[in-house]
Amino acid sequence: MSEATIAHEFQYSSASHQEESAIAGMWLFLATEVLFFGALFLAWIYARHFNQAGFDTGARETALAIGTANTVILITGSFAYSAGLAFAENGHNRLLILCCTIAWLLGLAFMILKFGIEWRDDFNRHMFPGPDFAITGPPGGGARLFWVFYFFGTFIHGLHLAVGLGLVAWIVWRASRGDFSPKYHTPVTAVGLYWSFVDVVWLILYPLIYLIGRAP
């Protein structure tokens, strides 16, 4: 397909002009997400500074194995999606669909592990910061606050991942209709940026939840 016949909106001068602008818009959106999660991480670190002993006591109760497995899953998923993007750039549509499906399944695995298994396990051990919170005594206040950040942070991350699952499914659907080609695959790139970003947010959550304060 020649460039002149690819549709573009009338405020743009060409399809590549529109594509570049759309990708720039996605990067700018991700910058706003950095500030969004950044505020949370700042509040987290601030609270930890004033409740260090309690936070560390609470952190020791996190499920390190599940957290680590989830980290590996997300990183693999990002890799899978990036492979899919590379295939899209070279016109291998079926491999694009395969890679995106793998990424989607890995994302789903994360959600099941995190919310189906880990959260359920946390509830059963009374780590939910409600009236029957398990850790009592002097470090209880800080430990409770740690678990507040844990549930809030993983909830917000989970919401973003759920949106990502929807977007990746949309890409798979559009790819199956033959919408993408080496000349046009802007949505694949844009969703890829978002998907990787959600991964990066997890890479910051992982040490905050599972690693800091765990050392004896």
């Binding site: 405020q11 743009y12 001068s13 700018l28 500030l35 509040a43 606050l145």
Partner: protein
Amino acid sequence: MSVAEIEAPKPGRSYLTEGLTIRSWLFTTDHKRIAILYLITITIFFFIGGIAAAFVRYNLIAPEGMIGSAETYNRLFTMHGVVMVWFFLVPAVPVTLGNFLVPLMIGARDLAFPRINLLSWYLFVLAGAVVLYALFTGGLETGWTFYTPFSTLYSRGNVAAAALAIVISGFSSIATGLNFIISIHRLRAPGMTWYKMPVFLWSLYATSVILVLATPVLAMLLLLLTFERIFHIGVFDPAAGGDPLLFQHLFWFYSHPAVYIMILPGMGVISEIVPAFSSKPLFGYKFVVWCSIAIAVISFLVWGHHMFVSGQSLFSALVFSLLSFMVAIPSAIKVFNWLGTMHKGFIRFDAPMLYAIGFIGLFTVGGLTGLFVAALAADVHFHDTYFVIAHFHYVMVGGMVSAYFAGLHFWWPKITGRNYPEMWGRAAALIIFIGFNFTFFPQFILGYLGMPRRYHSYPPEFQDLNVLSSAGATILAAGYLLPLFYLTWSLLRGERASANPWGATGLEWKTSSPPPSENFAVTPVVTEPPYNYPLREATHSHV
């Protein structure tokens, strides 16, 4: 880059006439129609916020409070603040004049993301519905600042609903800012380099940078507030290991840049009007441009000046005070540059210019009184008194609202294709200027004498100044009502406007009034600097 050719528009055809159904308006992606949708919405909020203010000033006529219930009074000033800040001042110029003019000024056919533009309006309407629900059922009595632990543990109002409404409005703001940044970077017409852009575009660019970087912090903070309110998570509760000061730091980290979100577009409007009505190029264009950027950057570094008596460290206080003095300098430079533009110009006194001159005077008073509260030891006395209220109303209302009206009148012929009745326009500008000063100048004195903010009732020695202020408020209200009537009248009966009734420079004046849907029949090519006014007596007359 290919240039699309479109046949010349038929006479009488404009963005207003293409599609006359409600569907064509509610599902439009035309930035000009979206601007009109926003204009109607924020006008409604302006009057809601204004009515709340009227009740506030009415209450303060008597020392014991004319409105019996202190709780009701607290809800009224909170409604006034929340509605005016997030549903009028933050959106005002960007979503109306900005949405309409950015593509026209850069010579484009629309913004970069038209559907996101429409989405931003729907988000704004949704946010507005939720906030009106929160304010009218149960109400909110925390002040627009939501300080914890009052808002989280002791308030009897609809804190969570109001907070969520503001979060949704924040998404709307971010979408608008994102759209402007990408459009200004990527859709400028051939020949329009950065230094050929009108200052209005630079101002909106700076505003948009603040919008996209500061608003997400507010969104996260209000989510934490909502969870604390509903689930008692304890992040701001000292008894649970949290800290109420954390709320203040995060709140002001957004809310101080937010006031520059509010004023920068207004300064951009004035930078267009003063050259146009002096028939002279803007004095010191590059300085004005870089002052806008400087204000945007430094605005992120001064939030602690709201907390000089709140319990932050001495070192922090000193740093924030120094930076607060520094942030005032670019604004001062802009004022000097506007005066320099008028110097040796050919000044005409149409309504936009009257509002602009009023802006320069009132904004200068507001900015100078900002120095009073930036000075640490003075702020210890003035903090949380009527002095602060007077200061920010001088900049926000005397400044920003005047600038909004200035822009509305200046671009009214372009947007609607009609001229407003000039004498009424000038009369309203004068009434507003007089009423405003009577309302707010006495409040500087009240603040010095020690009258605290947010007081439903007050000791009798403050009554005389309060009565004077409330009397001024009736004049101000009359001044604000006038444009509602004569601008609406002009839509039906005003004379038709020409493409460039003011003889102003800028690409928006090169297309018809009102413009066709696609803005330009042929993509313009820019060769001249901005404000290319010929240096001789202006010979045209106002059409």
